[in-house]
């Protein structure tokens, strides 16, 4: 199997889907002539031309809405936000238009659109460029929300998102674009709404998505080496709809759970998941569910402070020891 980067995997998904279906087009800032701010759309303008790879003005609300309108006529737009921080300008179109039209029209207008781009903290980008916003969108019925961790999942999930008949919010990891992984040459898709066990284990379950999957895997290796406990790492891959059955299956095996995510703690994905777990698997739990998330502050610029705010393997390891009653 070829080993490629997360960036290349996304690029392959875009190219393959645009080749397969001429209704698919890409629009966003710098996606065409500049090859993409993060080079995810490299080479696509040359291959598909300007109507299918369109440089947009810096007007997120406008071009996101343009995508929704085009989708209502049956095209399949992929709207790239340079980062999800900027997508906040377009949230009216994502929430009030894309997520609502199918129901408001009594099922007449579906909106087959993908809103994608990087999210989460990178390095010293300060408060306005470092936000993990998955819970904002996971809150909204009518949307599906994906956040892949590996090149394999990034490619397979993006292909599913493009083929989906409803709006999909697709949040990539800004720090994951250079992560490498195996991706098969042959065609495949990863279904939306399916979690994946990234590491099998019997002593504690760590549920994560996106960048935190990698931190969880590091924490799991240390837990095995230092404490002799085997953690099972469940990668949600999709945070709406959540694959609760895979999570519960793991919980019933390990009886201890850590939920890790990059964003703020109040009302986040982990908060919801913790409720689901306690309700569905109360008798299987040997300890309260532990949640790892960012500190409840805007991400500061200074490197030392940023490191304190953004969760890492250290925090996940500490939480795993806590639910395992290891002191």
């Amino acid at each position: 199997m070829a080993v490629i980067t997360y960036r290349e995997a996304l690029n392959q998904a875009l190219r393959e889907e645009m080749s397969r279906d001429e209704r698919v087009f890409l629009i966003g800032e710098e996606v065409a002539e500049y090859d993409g701010a993060y080079k995810v759309s490299k080479g696509l303008l040359e291959e598909f031309g300007k109507w299918r790879v369109r440089d947009a003005p810096i007007a997120e609300l406008g071009f996101a809405g343009l995508g929704v309108g085009a989708a209502m006529t049956g095209l399949r737009p992929i709207v790239e936000f340079m980062t999800w921080n900027f997508a906040l300008l377009a949230i009216d179109q994502i929430v009030n238009s894309a997520a609502k039209l199918h129901q408001m029209s009594g099922g007449q207008y579906n909106v087959p659109i993908v809103f994608r781009g990087p999210g989460g903290a990178a390095l010293m980008l300060a408060a306005q460029h470092s936000q993990a916003l998955e819970p904002w969108f996971a809150y909204v019925p009518g949307l599906k929300v994906c956040s892949p961790a590996t090149p394999y999942d990034a490619k397979g999930l993006l292909k599913s998102a493009v083929r989906d008949d409803d709006p999909v919010v697709f949040i990539e990891g800004e720090l994951l674009y250079n992560v490498k992984g195996e991706v098969p040459e042959e065609e495949y898709v990863v279904p939306i709404g399916s979690a994946d066990v990234k590491r099998a284990g019997s002593d504690v379950t760590i549920v994560a998505y996106g960048k935190m999957v990698h931190e969880s895997l590091v924490a799991a290796e240390r837990l095995a080496a230092e404490d002799g406990l085997e953690a099972e790492v469940v990668d949600l891959r999709t945070v709406r709809p959540v694959d609760l059955s895979t999570v519960l299956e793991s919980v019933r095996k390990t009886n201890r759970v850590v939920v890790a995510e990059e964003g703020w703690p109040v009302g986040n994905v982990g908060a919801q998941l913790t409720d689901d777990i306690q309700r569905e698997a109360f008798d299987d739990l040997d300890a309260p569910v532990a949640r790892v998330s960012a500190l409840d502050v805007p991400v500061p610029y200074a490197r030392n402070l940023e490191k304190l705010v953004v969760p890492s393997a250290d925090h996940i390891l500490a939480a795993a020891r806590h639910v395992g009653y290891i002191t």
Binding site: G69, L75, S97, G106, V242
Partner: protein, 359 residues
């Protein structure tokens, strides 16, 4: 105070400016149909107001009464395969576009036979078979959608056009500028139509817009044709729209049309017609220029329709509104089982709805 004198000048950026004099070469049948649609809109909404007051229609209900010349003038020259998208004051546009009065009324009543199956209500009328794309209730939110429909037309190399209607207050919101910029830059076949009824809810547009003639906002976008018309004159609106359609269809040029009109009723059924923000006198002055009465007088004078035929047409419109209400009355409410039916286009994904079990 908004007065009729605000209709001051016609923009001349379009190459062949025409006014509403004469009947634009339309045949008697077509002219009578334009009048019939205006009457139907008026009588339908009068019935809707009555039903609202009886508690049969809920929520927000924004009436178009007084503005009928705009919808009738702008939508009748469109082709069947063109597209229409509008804001929340959408009843008249839906009716003129051809959505059945029964389906519109049933939607206002929140019933399954409504054009949006009772899921949308007054502000969210949709009829995909007629390319009637809603019915959007965030001010300015649908303007970028119209650009997207225009983009899709160019993408498929079609020759349809999109007509996008919205109120005057939308010209101050960012999406207005973002949409017009893209439409002009990418040469999208979109006709943006300002239904300038002089007020954003209870605020005179002149108190909030830093421009005296809203149509002049078009100057900011090269390639965007612009025209201001008397929105109380259905033929003037039609003439301007016909030009805009031609520009869009033949040359992919977008337009901005400002139709100066007036709503007689309050912003919505829960708002007063007049009071702190405008006087009863002002409303009465505009009523003297009623678009239906003016147009019917012209048609009678021009020998297009007799007075008796007009009266008969009016009675038919009243009857159609009554039938629509009777139909809506007996249409069933949606089933609770439909709650999850339209959230996604495929089956509602497993998981989340389990949280609702205690309901």
């Amino acid at each position: 105070m908004a007065t009729k004198e605000r209709v001051t000048r016609a923009k001349t950026k379009m190459e062949k400016p025409r006014d509403g004099e004469g009947f634009l070469g339309l045949g008697h049948e077509e002219l009578r149909e334009v009048l019939r649609l205006m009457l139907l809109s008026r009588r339908f909404e009068e019935k809707a107001a009555e039903s609202y007051q009886m508690g049969k229609i809920g929520g927000f209900c924004h009436l178009y009464i007084g503005q009928e010349a705009v919808a009738a003038g702008a939508l009748t020259p469109l082709r069947e395969d063109d597209y229409v998208i509008t804001g929340y004051r959408d009843h008249a546009l839906a009716l003129v576009r051809g959505v059945a009065p029964k389906a519109v009324m049933a939607e206002l009543y929140g019933r399954v036979d409504g054009c949006s199956k009772g899921m949308g209500g007054s502000m969210h009328l949709f009829e995909r078979s007629l390319n009637f794309m809603g019915g959007h209730a965030i001010v300015g939110g649908h303007l970028p959608l119209a650009a997207g429909v225009g983009y899709a037309i160019r993408y498929r190399e079609g020759d349809q056009v999109v007509l996008c209607a919205f109120g005057d207050a939308a010209v101050n919101i960012g999406s207005f500028h973002e949409a017009l910029n893209m439409a002009a830059k990418w040469e999208l076949p979109v006709i943006y139509l300002i239904e300038n009824n002089a007020y954003g809810m209870g605020t005179d547009i002149r108190r909030t817009a830093a421009i005296s003639q809203l149509v002049d906002r078009a100057c900011a976008y090269e390639g965007l044709a612009a025209r201001q018309v008397d929105g109380m004159d259905v033929m003037a609106v039609r003439a301007a729209t016909e030009e805009a359609i031609e520009l869009a269809r033949e040359e992919h040029r977008p337009s901005l049309i400002e139709a100066l009109c007036y709503r007689y009723m309050g912003h919505s059924m829960s708002d007063p017609s007049h009071g702190t923000y405008r006087s009863r006198d002002e409303v009465e002055r505009w009523r003297k220029d009623d678009p239906i009465l003016c147009f019917s007088d012209r048609l009678v004078e021009g020998g297009v329709i007799s007075r008796e035929e007009y009266e008969e047409m009016d009675r038919a419109a009243i009857a159609e509104a009554e039938e629509a209400a009777a139909f809506a009355e007996q249409s069933p409410s949606p089933e609770p089982a439909d709650l999850y039916r339209y959230v996604y286009s495929d089956v509602y994904p497993h998981g989340a709805d389990r949280r609702d079990l205690w309901r």
